[in-house]
């Protein structure tokens, strides 16, 4: 990696020209969002600087508990983000399922990944573990949000149909199975779509980073492929948990459709 690219500070500063351009445009177009753009840039910068220093420290420490604590932090942060987005749309029982889906749905595929696919030594090698955990948790977060929102909407808009099915002798599972497959598809389609365009329409960020840092593109794609499969697996797994356990929260033990979600 002799041609490893390091960006000098003044060049880094030069990249903020784009923010100034955006602020000028915002003024010209009277968008009135200059403050938002500025805050977003500052937050991005601060968060990344902080992440950079923390990761550097974690990579040096190589401690299993520190690595796991970071995973937990990411999961909790993702959960808070999901709850923020679906606020008022899902009840407490579905929220519990969302939490379970996020923790189990990301941890298990991640474990498989570290132990079997990457086979890192030690298995928690933070240099691999943390970026992969980040991508897994981030993508599952999107899938789970889509799945939970859609599931809640199904029970709002198709109540009559579900209730009719129950009256006709259907089990809750039979009454909703069609909606469950729709929900599953809707929640994993963004992930599948991103695979379709990959390498042609866009070069994924991780791969770009590796190539910029001097890795051979052929090595970079191996990692990218492996990571995409990991993301697909964990999104699918998390969404599956949401759907299979989630629909049950809309019924009680007497196979009755319940009104308020508590």
């Amino acid at each position: 990696m002799s041609d490893l690219l390091t960006i000098e500070l003044w060049r880094l500063a030069a990249s903020y020209l784009f923010l100034i351009l955006l602020l000028v445009m915002s003024l010209l177009l009277k968008l009135g969002r200059g403050r938002e753009f500025f805050v977003a840039t500052v937050r991005m910068t601060l968060q990344l600087v902080l992440a950079g220093y923390i990761l550097e420290m974690v990579f040096r420490q190589q401690h299993v508990l520190v690595t796991l604590a970071i995973l937990l932090f990411m999961q909790v942060f993702a959960l808070v983000t999901i709850f923020g987005r679906v606020k008022g749309k899902i009840g407490p029982r579905l929220k519990r399922v969302v939490s379970l889906a996020l923790f189990v749905g990301t941890s298990l595929p991640l474990a498989y990944f570290m132990l079997v696919v990457i086979a890192a030594d030690p298995w928690y090698e933070p240099r691999f573990f943390i970026p992969i955990a980040g991508m897994t948790v981030g993508n599952s977060m999107t899938g789970i949000t889509l799945g939970a929102e859609r599931l809640a909407r199904v029970f709002q808009t198709t109540r009559a149909r579900i209730e009719e099915s129950l009256m006709l002798g259907a089990t809750p599972q039979m009454a909703v199975s069609e909606f469950l497959s729709d929900t599953f598809n809707a929640a994993i389609i963004p992930t599948v779509n991103s695979m379709l365009g990959m390498g042609i329409i866009f070069i994924p960020g991780m791969m770009t980073g590796q190539i910029l840092a001097g890795a051979s593109p052929v090595d970079a794609i191996k990692y990218q492929i492996v990571i995409m499969m990991g993301i697909l697996g964990s999104v699918a797994f998390a969404v599956f948990i949401i759907i299979q356990l989630g629909y049950r929260t809309f019924f009680n033990e007497r196979a009755q459709l319940i009104n308020n979600q508590d």
Partner: protein, 220 residues
């Protein structure tokens, strides 16, 4: 006389209060009352689509809570006031109902026979989006009658029908209920056909029994 449903001290929210009610098996039992009088809630209590807050509902002497709920609903099928017809053909609707009951669908000529009893012959392959309101209501009946339940709960089954079709439906039900082990509980307007065919008519008002009339001269 055997009772199909027995209600004791039943209350549901502030919608329904029934101190005591026996519904005789093998009869057509009519329920009348203004909207909001608790008629539909009463039906839903009978197939355990909702639980009562207090008291108990018995089906053939056994508390409905003792039955596995889905098994109970397969014995006691209900048609709501505005039945939901699934997208697809008439035939697919019938097959779906059989799938819900984990039963094998009957041969098509058997379905045709039931369809023609409700003046819908030759419509098995019709797309349900082309059915009129009255046809949908009759399809809902065909769908459950083919399943041969023990008991039928019907919420205004003739509401969308013209007089001829309404007569067809009610006379069919009056005949059907004479088969061994069958019972029908049916909501209807006061003064409609039901009063001519029902063995007993329960009138509800404000969630309470306003009157319970046995009709000895009924056509049943």
């Amino acid at each position: 006389m055997q009772t199909v449903f027995t209600l004791r001290d039943v209350s549901y929210g502030n919608i329904l209060f029934i101190p005591s009610l026996d519904i005789v098996a093998g009869s057509l039992f009519g329920i009348t009352g203004k909207s909001g009088s608790g008629k539909t809630t009463l039906l839903k209590l009978l197939n355990n689509l909702v639980n009562c807050d207090r008291g108990e509902v018995l089906y053939y002497g056994k508390n409905v809570l003792v039955y596995e709920p889905v098994e109970l609903r397969r014995k006691v099928l209900m048609i709501p006031q505005a039945p939901y017809i699934f997208p697809g053909t008439v035939l697919e609707n019938i097959r779906l109902a059989f799938y819900f009951n984990r039963k094998e669908a009957p041969p098509q000529d058997e379905m045709e026979e039931m369809m023609s009893a409700f003046e819908m012959e030759g419509m098995l392959n019709r797309d349900t989006s082309n059915l009129s309101g009255g046809e949908k209501q009759r399809l809902a009946l065909v769908r459950v009658l083919l399943l041969e339940p023990e008991t039928l709960l019907l919420d205004e089954p003739t509401a969308a029908l013209d007089e001829d079709n309404a007569t067809t439906v009610v006379t069919y039900l009056a005949r059907w209920v004479r088969k061994p082990g069958k019972s029908v509980v049916m909501i209807s307007h006061a003064g409609s056909l039901v009063s001519d065919y029902a063995g007993t008519i329960l009138d509800l008002s404000g969630g309470r029994i306003s009157s319970l009339k046995e009709r000895r001269g009924a056509n049943v």
